[in-house]
Amino acid sequence: MLLPKLPLRPTKLFASATPPLFSTSSPPPPSPPPPPLKLPKPPLFLRPLISSATPTSLHSFHSWAKSLALSTPPDDPDPLDPNLLLRELQWLLQDATGDVGRSQNPDLVPLRADLGDLYGLWRERVLERRPFQYVVGCEHWRDLVLWVGEGVLIPRPETEVVVDLVKEVVIGRSGRGDGEEVWADLGTGSGAIAVGMGGVVGERGRVVATDLSEVAVEVARFNVERYGLKESILELKAYEGLTRVLVNWLAPWDKVQIRQGSWFEPLEDVKGKLTGLVSNPPYIPSRNLPGLQAEVGRYEPKLALDGGKSGMDHLIHLCEGSVSYLKPGGFFAFETNGDEQSEFLVDFMVSKLENNFRDVKAVADFAVIKRFVTGFRS
């Protein structure tokens, strides 16, 4: 596996300034450079072992953290589950500690953060309701461990199924055609679906993922690189003959490519050629945003949650765009807010966009909520 290089690729420090509409004779006053992009901290489990602690001091951290986890007020209308917190505490320690056997001093446990920082992190988790995934900087999703942080939506367990849906389609159509197949993930966030799809789209498949947020694009690129999905085709094809090697050497392409832009905007080059299109767009109705669970409402980016008045602004935009971006027979899968939105969308695609799609249906998640809408371009 390719190990990530930290820090990440140089971030864009200067966004291209918008050209002035009317050129004036005098040069514009020098504007202050935009602030550098603020990226979240790298995941705890990938940080170097910079500190250490005695087993005794770790134990006292553990018992302190445990009692804090169990001390949540019983009348909290939005309570934390102590069982869950205790499991999270275990995972925090798992991510924060290194292998004792490899430390120089066998009486010390090597740590990836100062013990003092761990106290701070746990306070943030329990008292300030910071999502656990932001605290440790990663989310375990499918068989992946993805970098996440403030500014990037934490991928949900439900969304794992999107990759399974794609996998089914890939298996179903294997043997058909021989050209490359391009799959798109719109609003990729941490890149979870894109990286997951990269593993299931087969040898001829590649993935293009877009996101409007610059932070999300950087985080997603990191996750793509960590799973070796960048320029992996070059290695893969290297054994297939000199011609292929030459072709790939001249024009290498990434298995998973992340592009910045809104929804379909960065996809002009693949318009009408997409084999598949998936998305987990913001779908929460705006009026519901204030009442969200503390971890979500206080910390996660509104950009990734707010679906407009009915919650369906982006979903409808995606459905309409699919008509022109999918190739005939192309597959789509969208995550929705649940039964109501899914049923509406199925009806919308069948009646309003009639003859453009076939086999449109709602698919339930493991909690038996109609979570996805899937179908094919006619």
Partner: protein, 446 residues
Amino acid sequence: MVPFLLRRFRFKPFINPRNPNSNVLYSSRHLEPHNGFRPSHSVFGWTWSSQNSQNPSRSQSLSVIYRGLASEAAFVEARTSDGLTVDGIVEQRWPILDEGEGDWKSHAAAIAQSIQIIKKRLQWKKIMVRLDVLSAELNRPDLWDDPVHAGKVSREHGGLMGKLKEVRGLEQELLEQIDMLTLAHEENDEELESESMKALLLTRRSAKEKEHVALLSGDHDSCSCFIEVQAGAGGTVVDEMPGEIAGIKRATLKVDGDYAFGYAKAEVGVHRLVRISPFDSAKRRHTSFAAVAVIPILDDASSHVQINESDLRIERFRSGGPGGQHANTTESAVRIVHIPTGVTATSQNERSQHMNKAMAMAVLQSRLDQLEMARQAQMNAQHTQSLTKISWGNQIRTYVLHPYRMVKDLRTNYEVSDPDSVLEGDLDGFILSFLSASLDKHGDDL
């Protein structure tokens, strides 16, 4: 270099003359490697070979001839030049003294006794009968019409033949060493005599080790396993108390490693704990129970029960509310229900739903495999106790912390007076005593 070459040469196989089409390779007696039974003194084997060629007059009597390896049951019992057999040695009732004391007879008697124990534990008679059945199957010309069945037959045959060869190898070794000693004695070769005594002692030790290995000769003993612990009624078994985690209602553990199932199966049953409950403010004595089940994780994929995806219902549990983007949780527990059998499996300790699902599937697979094995065992009218079926009456062990301190196994009466060490995991004594007791009581199986 020379011993190395000789050893290489000894491995040369030949095709079973009775059944040249069989894909099972047989080794002739003289070419058979002694791997496994001569751990450190194969050089001695070579010394013996050269001695042998220097004394052609003895070579005939030194060799012990097996014939008709294709029919494993029909063979001429191995004997020394003086006509002594392994059973004969046992009948002599030579006293078995400590390793450091006694003459060769003590060693020989100890080895012969080990061989008898090993045979008993392996259920020797059953193996012989089974081998005859399997050999007959292997000889059928239409065997490979059903490759799956043929594979099964030849695997089982190979496995049993392996056991058979090991035991016969051990018998062989013992008798050869006695012959060597006799020879050394007759020829007043002191060097050879002391070499032979050393070899005999080594054989005695390795035979003792084999006794332990033979405890774990069950079909799935070598597999990894799941251990399930379920808290039961009696006194106050607390699942959760407000504000305090006071116990676990049910837990499934995965134990990876060689012979995990073979050892862990000794823990199947109900464990009873008597103590002053830390959760009782009146400090009264309580009795609580935990039922333990053990399921092997079959490593041979072909023996897995096929599971149809459409027979499964996969659910998130402890879920509620709208989910999706509304909820941030690290909870991704999954329950899988196998609809036709009603068997369920859950997993909640993995960090992603996908991994929880994979773990729950592994547990489900093992449970269904277990069910199938139980069904087949019933069909074969074998009286094997199903390991998952535990009644609360089936108590196997008591842990008393108060008013006195003791742990006692009710099956073997093995007991220790230090419950803390047992509760912290020192179970070896309990496991070994149970395994040997349960295998050794079938005296008539030899």
